[in-house]
Symmetry: C2
Subunit: 151 residues, 2 copies
DNA sequence: CCCTTGCTTGGAGTGCACTCCAAGTCAATA
DNA sequence: TATTGACTTGGAGTGCACTCCAAGCAAGGG
């Protein structure tokens, strides 16, 4: 039974430092399936990330298989966070390009992240305001239920 | 110059009770373009919402044009909130069905909203944890920038 | 030697949430 | 009467982020 290609099972992933998945070995060359187990992404998605330029040039074995480093796992953790907060893939690719271009892009990277931080703050505010509406509506339904139980 | 069909301009909408758009008239029969102005949705989207069963049967004039009520606007405000918090359209349609079916669906509606509230809470937690990462990275870049300015 | 496992590739397909199109109706104005 | 503008419909198209497919290769076990 292989561990590969299973759907992410609506994988709001139990990612990284969380619980189950420490770095597979202490070593620094992980196969794609190890990375799948670690990140909750599918192998398809990892290959796709690389194709579109969202990975910092992954190393290969002499037979052409990918070998990911701890640095790659760190990067994927960051990408996962940005993704969960709704940053478009195109923006993440842009950020990856800036990283590849070197230290003279620090300012632009800072801008990009600052803009995204502002987005995230707005999203939080939206979610909180919806939470109030939900609380209120749920209360109304709960009251109705209790009233009907108390007949 | 028509007001219709303009793109939502990345419309994190300034919706409802917020600022600019009070209920168009004090009356209770709004044309589709009035609702567009009020909600920030496009006319396309409003018609699509109706087609898929996400609206509570919108009234028509004798010539077949839609006339929305204040109740419809309230509903659209709720839908907007649920949408911004990432509830899938299918779930919103399910909720709309329950509303149409009457008061005996109160319990199921409460369940659906409670489940979504839990999602929203998780999303908020995710966003906050990302915010910390962003703050940290932005600090690092800002420090680097200040260091290079202070040469 | 053959089979299975684990991986490789480019390209095609999927699901969601819109978004747009073509063709038409109706009411009001020029 | 002709045109304009706001609206109608069913169905087709779009963009995003995956998701999968077919064909193939290398290494190890029976």
């Amino acid at each position: 039974m292989t561990v590969m290609e299973r759907a992410p099972v609506k994988a709001r992933n139990t990612c990284a430092e969380d619980t189950g998945h420490p770095r597979p070995t202490g070593q620094d060359r992980y196969s794609i399936s190890e990375v799948v187990a670690h990140t909750g992404l599918t192998a398809h998605t990892l290959r796709w990330y690389e194709r579109i330029g969202l990975m910092p040039h992954v190393d290969r074995t002499h037979t052409g298989q990918r070998r990911f480093t701890n640095r790659d796992l760190d990067w994927l953790d960051l990408v996962g966070k940005l993704r969960l907060t709704g940053m478009p893939v195109a923006d993440m690719v842009r950020y990856a390009e800036l990283v590849r271009e070197g230290e003279h892009t620090f300012a632009e990277r800072e801008e990009l992240l600052t803009a995204h931080r502002e987005n995230v703050r707005e999203r939080i505010a939206e979610l909180r305001s919806t939470l109030e509406v939900l609380d209120h509506k749920i209360d109304v339904y709960a009251d109705a239920r209790r009233a009907s139980e108390r007949v």
